[in-house]
Symmetry: C2
């Protein structure tokens, strides 16, 4: 699929590398959206009954590849096809499928009106109301307060004609919780519909080609059937009913169907990161500065240890995350196909959601950190717009926030891991739970790793002078930390249920612990995906190189957490210090392969282009 | 002085908060430069013989305060008055002083043409030549290769009429090393002078109001007397002479006089950081999200532990760096006054240079990290240009690069510390040196701390339940780490002098060690400056609060380095774990004081203004 997109990329409109004003950039993005529509790629992401092909994994990979080109286009495409189209496909019913064609060819530009000025992370507390009016068989969409205003909505400021509006559904005076309703916000001429007030969010830190806007609704009426009613509908008699009784479960099921958005964000954060790494590595391979003592030859940047340290562990992590992304996309694809067929297991669904949240948070934080490092590694040249790094950095910045704030997501991940443990043993007393929980986690970890056949001794193919290059030892250290953090967490959170406990205080005190546990979970899964990816690799030379790249990912993570390993008696001070040296040595060993590795990302040259590689004439 | 600038700030032109295109932003900056010139502030930075008042410390503080307003203006002012004007003042002689008036009132806009496309960090390898032509008594300025092009030069693209050009001085066929020459680059109408080719660097990641450009010289002739000849001049007979024999020492002495630039960058990085912290903290104090379990009340962001963790240690570090900046500015002022009087000690000068390099690298890295954290802490609102965080972030990004790449600077700091040790004991054999070196460092540390009266037991004024709040213990832990890192470094670098040693390989292998040692040196000095600042504080309540803020700075640094303390047996695993809890507890204790602390930065409200504080109407 990536190769197909690489070919498409060669015909794509050239990304706007010069500084456009926001309006011209939005024009370019609209134009490029039409090009994307013409490629036939968007149909991959929709079910057959909407005119698509149901190739969900391929669709997500498409967003990933677009991320090498231009991130405003990627986000705009993600909003229209992924979020707006995804809401119709996943939350709508048969009566909405006729919209498929106009969504797929983008003649009905849409937006996804979830976030409000007052509530972003806490979607359940949205204030916009959708009140059923039985007299006219309509829904009345209303923003009752200033903070109910829809905010930061991509596509709202200029292009969108239809909005998927998330609102508290009120039927017969009863609030049924958050549901999604299709609301036309502009007519064919682009004028706001009556009762709809739209404004522009104005300048942003990046993504200037995306027209983020605000929407206020003043008792806007739409037909009842505009409710996307798959998980909660109003029948012809005006009665609300839902296949899911629990309001909480209903809400999370609805949100869960939108998981593709997070996976797409992680994917395009990955492409942006890899673009930056290729640019900075190629620069570091040819740029020289300072002569060696007693020599006339200037040192190449990438021969400096600090430069190797800056780039090589990040190249390794980029590979690791790519394998994890492949794995996640493949699991998501299976779950979405099974959902369409009505035979998905809730556990699989939940596992994909948890991993999507974790990988999204991890990959976007890594993107911001890495692109910034690449910018600094290219010095003044890195600060020029022509060389793309500052734009990549500015555009991906908000990836840490949209599709779920990273800190909030990591807490969701940890809570979900702890909850799925706790659910298994209902009525045991606290101490039992702790003991059992601990064993459970340990077993779950061992089980997952053994399913993939990974807990075995790997042969160290390059050398045996470096410590910690036994894969089994790495996996054990990763899993051990995760297990211990989750055990401790289960114990701490259990206290919240004690009589008289202040549940918020208990959870709040554990917040940093939650975040660490979630990251440890992601890191272990990423390592396993890397190992599984190597297992699947057919080419012997490639495998040998990947093994060493995997070592560098593993060791750089262990190095970062060595305080924890020391505090928990998993490492002696001597072995901990040796880790630092091992990372240095691995960087030096991989340095000659740096170009191979960044070219291995397979980024279309046309999209990568910068002016930085040579010294250009004035 | 800061209060004076606060009053001036109230009359300053309103910073451009809307998105200006680059040309309009440059217009605004030029206009604002005229306003700055009219305030009389620039005269503070110049010696009396140039029409100034010689208040060097006050001038640097002016740049710091400007940093609260607009960073393009700050940088543009820094380039013209600080770098260009500073070169004339510090490298020029009596024959250049008549330029003072036109520099101070900015009617002769200047630029500082040091960096070239091929060489930035390695200034000694610049390729531009200034060749003495005895027949016409002129200097011929020439760019012999494409990589000799002056690059990223602030002011060059549009406004500068005169450039301080750094070039290899060639007299009678002999190269005398890098010197600085005044070269007119534009005439009164703004057209490039003959032989001067100027182009625009184009879009940058930030600082859009600064017109960075490139300059190529094609055998441009200027009078011999345009050489800024204080440290190396050509006499009327066409002979080169210098008061400093060693070419290396001459070069570093020249660069050393330009130390104010680095201190100013650190200062304005500090103001940008404090602006971001005040914006994010005030937002976090009123923004709510999610209800507590079993409650209708939503939690204020700053009550979440992860949010406290994100902001409070950084507020503490911002205070710490402000005390360090005060100390550094005051020492720089004394040294510059003594230099003008011709009675400065080289040791004092070198100490200020070393600390300036260290603080610049540390404060600018802290700025980037902290402003980004503030952006993320404000979610989507943080991404809007109207709320300033993204602009602060984009503008300060390159502070990590200009006035010395941070990684290069930190290595200079460490090398200078090791060198000044090694210089003291000349011919001892290696083992002696190591032993003596180690004792030397330890003594130097003790001496410096005891000079300031800090190695004493402080009373813990708030509570005694927290570990590590004994100031003496904190100081000991900081100094101990620095000492140990420097000792190890001296030992490693000594190997480079062994017969047959590969000097580059030895130094390169120690690069990460150098960087860590330099940061440890900065961190210890910053802690001492904080403690000295508290000592000097007259108000009892303020002292009590500052003591706790100082604890948070100290403990958050110790927490970050706890792997090192564990590896080197300075902490037990239990005490190390307790550190994490102590930081959490301190954050909670300081949370009620967060507003007081950010308002204590004393940022003029007019400059801070954002739209984010309330929910504004459409």
């Amino acid at each position: 699929m990536r190769d197909r997109f690489r070919e498409l990329g060669d015909q794509a409109p050239a990304p706007p590398r010069t500084e456009l004003g926001p309006e011209a950039y939005r024009d370019w993005t609209d134009e490029a959206m039409r090009w994307v529509a013409g490629t036939g790629v968007p149909a991959l992401g929709f079910p057959v009954q909407m005119g698509g092909t149901g190739d969900y994994g391929a669709a997500v990979t498409g967003f990933e590849m677009l991320g090498h080109g231009d991130l405003s286009l990627t986000v705009k495409a993600g909003v229209h096809w992924g979020l707006f189209g995804g809401a119709v496909a996943n939350l709508g019913t048969g009566r909405h499928h006729h919209l498929g064609a106009a969504i797929i060819d983008a003649t009905l530009p849409g937006c996804f009106a979830m976030t409000e000025t007052g509530h972003g992370s806490d979607v359940q507390s949205l204030e916009t109301t959708a009140t059923f009016a039985p007299d006219t068989d309509e829904l009345v969409i209303h923003s009752p307060t200033p903070s109910a205003r829809k905010d930061y909505i991509g596509g709202a400021a200029r292009s969108a004609r239809m909005a998927a509006v998330f609102a508290q559904l009120v039927v017969a005076g009863e609030s049924e919780g958050v549901h999604c309703v299709l609301v036309p916000i502009r007519d064919e001429q682009g004028n706001p519909m009556p009762g709809v007030t739209i404004s522009d969010c104005g300048g942003k830190g990046g993504l200037s080609g995306v027209d983020n806007g605000r929407i206020l609704f003043d008792r806007v009426r739409v037909p009842r059937t505009n409710l996307l009613g798959r998980y909660g509908d109003i029948d012809d008699q005006g009665r609300y009913h839902s296949p899911i009784e629990s309001r909480g479960r209903r809400f999370f099921t609805m949100l869960g169907t939108l998981v593709r958005g997070r996976i797409s964000v992680a994917g395009s954060a990955g492409s942006a990161t890899r673009s930056a790494l290729e640019i900075a590595t190629k620069y570091a391979e040819q740029r020289t500065q300072f002569q060696a003592p007693g020599s006339d030859t200037e040192i190449t940047l990438l021969d400096y240890r600090t430069h190797q340290r800056a780039l090589l562990p990040r190249i390794a992590t980029a590979y690791a995350l790519m394998f994890a992304q492949n794995d996640l996309v493949s699991r998501m694809h299976d779950v979405q196909v099974q959902t369409a067929d009505g035979e998905v297991s809730e556990a699989d669904q939940r596992a994909v959601e948890t991993m999507a949240a974790g990988i999204k948070a991890y990959a976007t934080a890594f993107a911001n950190d890495t692109i910034q490092t690449c910018r600094e590694a290219c010095g003044g040249a890195g600060y020029l717009t022509a060389n793309r790094l500052v734009t990549l950095r500015a555009d991906t910045d908000v990836f840490a926030t949209f599709e779920g704030d990273n800190t909030v997501l990591l807490q969701l991940v940890a809570k979900s891991l702890v909850t799925s443990l706790q659910r298994s043993f209902g009525a045991m007393d606290t101490l039992d739970v702790v003991r059992f929980g601990s064993r459970m986690v340990a077993e779950a970890v061992v089980e997952q790793t053994s399913i993939r056949g990974l807990v075995q001794r790997f042969k160290d193919v390059w050398s045996d002078r470096l410590p910690y290059t036994e894969r089994a030892e790495q996996l054990h250290l990763f899993a051990d930390r995760e297990t211990h953090l989750l055990e401790g967490l289960a114990r701490r959170l259990r206290r919240a249920t004690a009589p008289g406990a202040d549940a918020f205080a208990v959870a709040n005190a554990a917040q940093d612990h939650l975040v660490e546990a979630a990251k440890a979970h992601v890191e272990r899964n990423v390592l396993e995906a890397f190992v599984a990816g190597i297992e699947a690799c057919q080419d012997a030379d490639t495998r040998i190189l990947l093994e060493r790249v995997c070592d560098l990912y593993a060791l750089s993570v262990l190095e970062r957490h060595r305080a924890w390993y020391l505090e928990h008696d998993r490492l002696t001070p001597e072995r901990s210090k040796a880790l630092i040296g091992a990372v240095n040595d691995l960087c030096a060993e991989l340095r000659p392969h740096a170009r191979t590795l960044v070219e291995g990302f397979g980024i279309p040259n046309r999209w990568l282009g910068t002016e930085m590689m040579g010294v250009e004439a004035i």
